[in-house]
């Protein structure tokens, strides 16, 4: 089916185990590259082989390309699956793989390089016919330029630090008289915070939803989409709850998003699994960015379509055609994912790593839990705080939300100093705005305004 005997999994946690599982089903030998902190991880246990590539610090292990490549070459791997995060969206790493005769499971390095430059991606997609947010695209300097741009873009708008990210370094401007002071303060904050005072301007959508479309594209010209996901429930740009279909999204808008994603993937020469992110407000939509990797929330799409996205990634990477045509993709029911993090809600959601004396995830009909931890495991402090993803499916949204709440109630996690986001997630599930699907990305983070 695929030409790979051996695949190196260059990641950790639940996604490493996720990839190992699909390899095992495909009779591909899996090798997990791991740091000293992950010696006893579930992925290492489940893999056919493993290589200790470095210390806990990611810059010397999971982010250190030479160690990963070395592990792949030594174990006879023909391909490297990068998971998400770490090296997964690094065009240089994809390039290094190629130079070492290894297949990088993802799009071609040059495609990744273009799409990971947000300004360039925005231009490319606008040329491909996708609507983009009115904005400067590039950093602006000087009061005249700022005022001219603001006039063109319209209000409200958002001033973003070019070097910012994760929700930091942004100011919303609602009235013309706020514009210049906001420009000055955002630049000043960016200079202090990031050592880079470049900012750009973008239209701000008050009541936007974050909706993304999953695509699969093979090397033979086939591009299909697997429907959309709504990821509007975020805390500081961190997704907490993802669902499909996007609730309350007009069917014609959903169809347009899917068509945009397919057209965008085609025009970019994209191959592999990828995600096109959009902002949606009513029937207005705008392209934001492309994620050139498998996403944390991919199981939501798997639950609705029955398609194993990691399998498709490996199949495409091996040069084979997609296993499905667009007409074979028939999503059904409603799927929801909640991310359970080891974070302390009482200490501003600071990560709280520690030993898991008790860890019994929920189970049962239409409940899936992807996790890389297990009872007795000490959650390392070096990595993100994701403990588990709980995914449920039901014929309708009310059933899915009830099932999710039931699953979260069943989840048993405890240990010295260990706190989780379970209670926060349950509050979101009970929130009337969320239940009515009237929520936006600011459900949990009212955006700071200037003035």
């Amino acid at each position: 089916m695929t030409g790979f005997d051996t695949v190196l999994v260059a990641n950790r946690g639940e996604i490493a185990l996720r990839v190992v599982r699909t390899c095992r089903e495909m009779a591909i030998r899996s090798v997990v590259a791991y740091s000293t902190a992950d010696r006893d991880s579930a992925a290492v246990r489940a893999a056919d082989a493993s290589v200790q590539i470095g210390p806990a610090a990611p810059q010397r292990s999971y982010n250190y390309a030479p160690a990963v490549i070395e592990a792949a070459l030594r174990t006879g791997a023909q391909a490297v699956h990068p998971g998400y995060g770490f090296l997964s969206e690094d065009p240089d790493f994809a390039e290094i793989c190629a130079r070492n005769g290894l297949v990088f499971v993802g799009p071609a390095p040059e495609v990744m390089a273009r799409l990971s430059d947000k300004a360039l991606a925005r231009t490319m997609m606008a040329e491909a016919g996708l609507p983009v947010l009115p904005g400067t695209g590039q950093p602006v300097t000087g009061r005249a330029e700022v005022v001219a741009a603001a006039r063109r873009i319209g209000l409200p708008l958002i001033i973003k630090a070019a070097a910012g990210g994760g929700g930091r370094g942004m100011t919303v401007v609602r009235r013309p008289d706020q514009l210049l002071s906001a420009y000055r303060s955002t630049r000043a904050a960016a200079r202090i915070g990031f050592g880079d005072d470049r900012v750009y301007l973008e239209r701000y959508w008050e009541r936007a939803r974050h909706v993304e479309v999953q695509v699969l594209a093979d090397g033979h010209g086939s591009v299909v989409h697997l429907g959309e996901r709504d990821c509007s429930v975020q805390r500081r740009r961190q997704k907490l709850v993802e669902e499909s279909p996007a609730p309350g999204l007009r069917p014609d808008v959903a169809r347009r998003l899917a068509e945009y994603a397919v057209a965008g993937a085609r025009s970019a020469g994209y191959t592999g699994a990828g995600t096109f992110e959009f902002l949606v407000d009513g029937d207005e939509v705008a392209f934001i960015e492309v994620n050139c990797r498998i996403q944390v929330e991919h199981p939501v799409t798997e639950a609705r379509t029955g398609i194993d996205i990691v399998r498709e990634q490996l199949t495409i990477a091996a040069g084979a055609p997609l296993s499905v045509r667009q007409e074979d993709v028939r999503p059904s029911g409603v799927a929801v994912e909640c991310r359970v993090n080891a974070e302390d809600p009482d200490r501003d959601f600071a990560p709280c790593p520690g030993r898991l004396d008790e860890f019994v995830p929920p189970a049962g009909p239409f409940v899936r839990v992807d996790t890389g931890v297990h009872q007795g495991w000490r959650v390392p402090s070096e990595y993100d705080s994701l403990l588990a993803k709980v995914i449920v499916w039901a014929p309708d949204r009310a059933g899915a939300l009830a099932r999710m709440d039931s699953a979260l109630r069943e989840f048993r996690v405890s240990g010295p100093g260990v706190h989780t986001t379970v209670s926060l997630l349950r509050r979101v599930l009970a929130d009337p705005e969320f239940r009515a699907a009237r929520h936006t990305t600011s459900l949990l983070d009212p955006v700071r305004d200037e003035g």
Binding site: T36, Q52, G54, P55, P66, A67, E70, A71, R74, N100
Partner: protein, 163 residues
Amino acid sequence: MTDTGSVDAAVAELGAQAALETLVRSVVDIAGAAPQPPSRVSVRFGCASVEVEWPQGKPVVTGGDENPPPTVSPQPAAADDRRAVRAPLVGTFYRTPGPGESPFVEVGDLVAAGQQVAIIEAMKLMNIVEADTSGRVVEVLVADAEPVDFDQPLFLLAPAEGR
């Protein structure tokens, strides 16, 4: 060194050393007397502890861990005087500067801290492996041109003097 406090401390240190030696002997006795090679041996006396693990047949020796003796022993790892030189990265281990040349070090050689003892090749780059402590080479743990993981023990060094 005349006030009682420092005498006590010295005695405590001596006691701890003796205790640890006893612990180590205990572990060795157990390992030798056991019907099968154990996978883990842990011996503890008061606050001092020694733990030995043999993951999948390949022996790894660690001295003391969870509860390091807080004030008593300045050297919790003193159970075994030998120190390992470990791989600073994943790659291929070479004992010689080049094919046909003689090894950087041999068993019995005295090495100084910072002295090159091997090469690890990764991504076609030759990385120098230095001893991080001085000592006499008592064992070479990896054969030439073998792959090594990060942190894998390569050589065992014994203290240069004493014994």
